[in-house]
Symmetry: C2
Subunit: 357 residues, 2 copies
């Protein structure tokens, strides 16, 4: 195992009031950094004070977007331990994204150890209120100062930490989602399965238009026929139809969500009928017309579960479950967040202890 | 017109030997920079010494890829003037890319003036040998320190300059191109028409595989049917079939190439039959089988014209024009590069004088 050199920050910051955290704007005192150069491999794993870094205006990531990231969370439990949620699953997916973007594979054990050491060092930044957490953002960017399209020879890996407030600050509430019919996020043979900046860049225009129309997010359909449901961009999507939980199967253009996996495993464990299969937007509207569409909800690291109260497709709006939180959405949210924050036993082995406080 | 503040570099560098320039690795003494903040608009246009800049590890471009760029060239003419090629067309396309990526529009006149002032300041860096040029790279990146998906509120615009060697250092030679059948670069409703990092990130894996198989680049087919020809990623593509020049029509997933436009305008001016239309890979192979496929060539800022000597599609290889440079490819290359370097009259008004030396 590589040694991780530590340079401590001169001054420690303080966690702001936990109801003022918001999302992704406040960062902790330190960050984990590692370099890659062809021929040398990944090297110089270190923890240093959080702060700006020098980048060349010719750095490849600024021009050609060869980059990947992950998003996961650490929580403070009731008995004052700090735990992370499925960190190794996230780091394995990080390597899968690396493969898709032609970025060199990373040592999952080293990253896992670095992550734990970093969080332990900045443990005072882990908030404790219900629904709050420490958001963990590992990412890799290509930094060769070279203005030409190629696979890079130099990369920088970072792990930065951000204490985040409760996603549902004003309560766990259903959202309105627009089914996108013009723009496309990803296509088979493209980058859709990777957590890479390109997929998010491709979602901005559609999200902007949807927001102007009063929707929180867009639901993407497949690029080829604009018929089959894919995902929400920041979330995977689930439908409860006639008692069955259905989510689109992984097809190369959908993100392999870790919370998606958790939902599938929990629902199966509860004895529910669960399907990963192709599902068309027609089928969803048809089920609604027949009174069989019971719930729609998204799953993702940020929100965990996000109930959907309204869908709009080609101007046709449907209200789901009377715009109220569905029974399964609520149960999944309560159960998964309880595992994350140590309020119920972790029978799946998802929680990884970082430190005691 | 905004004033452009100038901070001169303490020390000037020197243009290396012109046969050692390569592409995109050497940069001049200065760069143009401008900032954007929501509410303030674009401001603080300035020319400063070329060099690294500070960036937050949370800067949005590193995570969500909201960024655009352009690529154009300046040349030293035989009578020692420095000229740029179609700069306003490039800057208008820059704004079109900005629109697709939800980046605020820029003042083309200001950028044009800034570009000229920057090149004039660094005019000693414009090489003079045949085929060399000063490559100009304007780009915009989103820099809000915010880890969340949204349209950014803070951007930085740069123009950097790189003296580049002759693209065909070892002579103007046909290349081998693989017709891609697995990966996809862009799709209707996506970002394909924009010059944005996402499109290049999406091309890396396919290019890597093609290179291992001995091909220079890949030719992309449409994402929906994998049937119609799109572009080469760094070039648009042309076919000469039975005397007619054919290139895929702009459809939203193909880059609106400036050299593509030049080729169309020149060929029309020469009285050739020119078509922008949908063309399938089947049609190309059929034309080859019937002996009517006379030439294939790419067009782009870097290479200007790149003759294609071999195509490979699903393992079926065809050799074009006996792997020799076609008559039209050669004539277009000679004529366009002659206009660029001031060796023939610029009847199209494409050349813009920057300064005399």
């Amino acid at each position: 195992m590589t040694d991780i050199a530590v340079t401590l920050a001169d001054k420690r910051g303080t966690l702001p009031a936990e109801d003022k955290l918001g999302f992704g704007k406040i960062f902790t005192d330190h960050m984990f950094v590692m370099d890659y150069v062809t021929g040398q491999g990944w090297h110089n794993a270190r923890i240093i004070p959080y702060g700006d870094f020098d980048i060349s205006p010719a750095a490849m990531v600024l021009h050609y977007g060869q980059a990947i990231f992950e998003g996961m969370k650490a929580f403070r439990t009731g008995d004052n331990r700090v735990v992370t949620y499925r960190p190794v699953d996230h780091l394995k997916r990080f390597n899968n994204s690396a493969d898709i973007l032609s970025i060199p594979q990373m040592d999952v054990d080293l990253l896992h150890a670095g992550l734990k050491q970093l969080i332990a060092l900045d443990k005072e930044w882990v908030p404790k209120s219900l629904g709050t957490s420490l958001y963990i953002r590992p990412f890799v960017v290509s930094v060769d100062p070279y203005v030409g399209v190629k696979v890079a020879d130099e990369y920088k890996l970072f792990i930065i930490l951000s204490p985040v407030g409760a996603y549902y600050a004003s309560g766990f509430k259903p959202v309105k989602i627009k089914v996108e019919e013009h723009f496309v996020r990803a296509v088979k043979g493209g980058l859709g399965e990777a957590k890479t900046p390109a997929n998010y860049a491709a979602s901005l225009k559609a999200a902007e238009v949807a927001k102007e129309e009063g929707y929180t997010q867009v639901l993407w359909l497949d690029a080829l026929e604009q018929k089959y449901i894919e995902e929400v961009g920041t979330m995977n999507i689930f439908f409860k139809i006639g008692g069955e939980i259905i989510t689109p199967e992984l097809n190369g253009s959908i993100l392999n969500g870790i919370t998606r996996r958790s939902v599938l495993e929990v629902a199966k464990d509860w004895g529910m009928k669960v399907s990963e299969r192709r599902i068309s937007i027609d089928e969803v509207y048809q089920a609604h017309a027949e009174g069989r569409l019971q719930e729609v909800f998204g799953s993702g690291t940020a929100a965990v579960i996000s109930p959907v109260g309204e869908l709009s497709w080609k101007g046709r709006k449907i209200v789901i479950n009377n715009n109220e939180i569905g029974e399964t959405s609520q149960k999944l949210f309560d159960y998964i967040t309880s595992i994350q924050q140590g309020r119920v036993a972790d029978k799946f082995g998802w929680v990884d202890e970082v430190t005691k406080l």
